[in-house]
C-alpha cells in the first residue's frame, strides 16, 4: 500500500478543481423561471495526482456523484474551473472534449443498470472502440478479447448478455469498458458498493492491479470506509456539497480534525465481535441542499457547535501539512 510520502517527491498534478459549483435549478411558475437552486456541489477545490486514488466519502445526498459527473462533463458546470493535464476543460466544445473523454472514464455503482440489457457485452465493448478509434472490425474484436482477458473474463463471454453474468463479472465488464481507451483517470462511483464482500475483494484487487500497470488515477466514491481505507491514498470528506476535510488516508482515520469526520468514523461497524465503540450520534437529518443553513453547513447537527458556527462559514484550510479541514475548532 502506497502513501503519499512514498510517491515521487513532487507528485504531478493530473486533475485540478477550483471552486467547482454545481447547482440544479428549481423551476417554478408559469414561465418556468428559476426560483431556487439545489446546491448539490457548493464549493470543491482539490488537486489529484497522477497514479493516486482519492477517496470521496460523505453522507447520502452530499453531492459525491454530482461532483463526479460534473468533472466528466455529464452535468453542466455552474461555476469554477476544471483543469485536466494542465488544460482547462470546462469551456471546451463537444468536439474538443472528445479527446478528454478517452482520458477520463467512469465506473458506475450498479453494473447491471449501467449496461444496456439488450446488448451483448462484446458489442458493448466493441462500440467503445467504434466511437473513438478507426480500427477495423477484426482489430476491434481482438482488442475486445484482450480486454476481456485483462479483467479476468473469457473469450466465450463475448456473446453474452449482461443478465447472464454474476455481479462481480458485470462490474468487471464495467471496468473493461472504462479502461478500454487507456484513460489516465477513472471515477469509481460506488463501484463496489453493490457487490458482496468476496466479489468486492476480487474487484478491488483488479482495480489495484490495473492502476499499477497503467499508472492510473482514481477518484473513488464510496460509503464503505473500510474499503476506502484499504484502497485509497487520500480521502476527501464532503458534507452538503462542501469539502469538510481532506488528507492522507492514515491521517483521516487516525487523526480526524472535523467533527463530521469523527462522527462518520465512529459509526463504522467493525467486523470483530465485542469491539465496544463510542458512537457519536448525529441528531436530525441532513439539511435541505436547496436551503442550506447559514455559517458552517454542519452546525445544525454538530455536537461541538458554537455561536460562531451559525454565523461564519469556516474556510477550508491546511491545519497540518497536507491536512485540510473546514472547521472553526479543528483539532
Amino acid at each position: 500500500m502506497k502513501t503519499v510520502e512514498e510517491l515521487p517527491s513532487k507528485p504531478e498534478v493530473l486533475l485540478e478543481l477550483e471552486n467547482v459549483k454545481k447547482y440544479f435549478p428549481i423551476k417554478g411558475g408559469v414561465l418556468k423561471r428559476v426560483v431556487g437552486n439545489v446546491k448539490a456541489v457548493e464549493s470543491v477545490s482539490l488537486q489529484l495526482y497522477k497514479g493516486e486514488s482519492l477517496g470521496v466519502v460523505g453522507e447520502s445526498g452530499c453531492g459525491k456523484s454530482t461532483l463526479g459527473r460534473t468533472i466528466l462533463g455529464l452535468e453542466e458546470l455552474t461555476d469554477g474551473k476544471i483543469s485536466f493535464d494542465h488544460q482547462e476543460i470546462q469551456d471546451l466544445s463537444r468536439k474538443e472534449k472528445k479527446k478528454f473523454v478517452k482520458e477520463m472514464q467512469m465506473i458506475f455503482q450498479d453494473p447491471y443498470a449501467s449496461l444496456n440489457p439488450r446488448q451483448r457485452i462484446g458489442h458493448a465493448l466493441d462500440e467503445v472502440f467504434k466511437m473513438h478509434t478507426d480500427m477495423s472490425a477484426g482489430e476491434r474484436k481482438d482488442a475486445v478479447l484482450s480486454l476481456l482477458r485483462e479483467v479476468g473474463l473469457k473469450p466465450e463471454h463475448y456473446d453474452r448478455y449482461p443478465h447472464e453474468f454474476s455481479g462481480g463479472q458485470r462490474q468487471r465488464i464495467g471496468i473493461a469498458r472504462a479502461i478500454a481507451l487507456n484513460p489516465s483517470f477513472i471515477i469509481c462511483d460506488e463501484a463496489v458498493s453493490a457487490l458482496d464482500v468476496s466479489v468486492q475483494a476480487q474487484v478491488l484487487k483488479l482495480l489495484k492491479t490495473i492502476q499499477e500497470k497503467y499508472n492510473l488515477s482514481y477518484m473513488f466514491i464510496s460509503h464503505d470506509l473500510g474499503v476506502v481505507r484499504y484502497f485509497c491514498d487520500r480521502v476527501l470528506v464532503m458534507y452538503l456539497g462542501n469539502t469538510v476535510e481532506m488528507s492522507d488516508v492514515s491521517k483521516i482515520f487516525n487523526n480526524p480534525l472535523h467533527p463530521y469526520t469523527k462522527a462518520l468514523l465512529s459509526a463504522i461497524p467493525r467486523p470483530t465481535v465485542n469491539a465496544k465503540r463510542e458512537r457519536i450520534r448525529l441528531v436530525g437529518d441532513m439539511p435541505n441542499p436547496a436551503n442550506p443553513p447559514s455559517g458552517c453547513p454542519f452546525h445544525t447537527r454538530c455536537p461541538i457547535a458554537q455561536e460562531i458556527c451559525r454565523v461564519d462559514k469556516p474556510a477550508f484550510v491546511e491545519h497540518e501539512k497536507d491536512h485540510f479541514a473546514a472547521c472553526h475548532f479543528a483539532g
Partner: protein, 295 residues
Amino acid sequence: MATAETVTVKEKKREKYYVTTIRRLFKNKLAVAGLIIVILQILMAIFAPMITIHDPIKQNLASSELPVFSEGHWLGTDNYGRDVWSRIVYGARISLVVGIVAVSLGLIGGVVLGMLAGFYPKLDAVIMRIVDLLFSFPGILLAMLIIAILGTSLVNVAIAISIWSIPTCARIVRGSVLSIKEKEYIMAMRSMGASDLRIMARHILPNATAPIIVFATMRMATAILSTASLSYLGLGAQPPTPEWGAMISQGQDFMWSSPHLTIVPGIAIMLTVFAFNVLGDGLRDALDPNMDLQQ
C-alpha cells in the same frame, strides 16, 4: 489449488444471435401458429394463380351472391358473381403489402417524433402539439389533400394511412423514451462520449420495442380496414382490383342477403392481425434477453 480459470463453469455453446431468437420463438406455440399463418398468407399472395381456378375480376352476373360451399366456389361469389376465394387470395397481395408498408411508415414517423420529443425536453411541447394537430386533422381531408397533391397511387394510400398512425405511435414511444432515458446505461453511454443519435438508435430504441410491437400489430387491422375507405375516395386500389378492406365495405350492402361477403374478408383480416399479434408478442419475448430468466 483452484484458481479462477480452473473453476468448473460449464460454458453453454454460444449460438448466433438470430439462431437464439428463432429457437426461442419456436418454443412459443402461439407465435409459431402466427408465423405459419403469416407465411401461408405470403405464399398465398405469391402463388395466387396456382391456388385459384377463377379469375378474381371475372364477372358472372348469372351466378352472383352464391353462398359459401357452393359448387365450384367454396367461399361463394359476390354481387358480380366473382369468386370470393380468388378475391381473398389475390386481395392478400394488396392488403398485406399496404398494411405492412403503411404500418412501417407510420412507425418510422411516430418513432422519430416520439423519440425526439421524449429525448429533448425542449422539443417536447412543439412536437407533441404537432402530434395533436395531426391527430385532430380529419383523415378524409388528408386523403383528399393527398389525392390533390400527390395523386392516387397505392404508395399514397400507404402514406395516408401511415400519417394516421403517427400521433398514437409518437405518444406511445415518447412515454417509453421518457423512462428509458433516465436509465443508468444511458448515462454510461454519455460518459463514453456517445453521440445523441447513437444513444437513441442503439440504446433507447431497442429497449422500447415492447409497446411499439403491441401498437404496430394492433394497427395492422386498422390499416387494412382503412384502405377500403381510401379506395372508395379514389385513392389506391380501384375496383375491380380485389382488396380485403374494400370487400368488407362493399359487402356491407349485402349484409342481410349474403353475410359471407363481409364475414369472409373479415376473418381474413382477423387472422392476419391475430398472426401478427402473436408473432409480435413472441418476437418481443424472444428478443428480450431476459426471457430465459423469467421462466
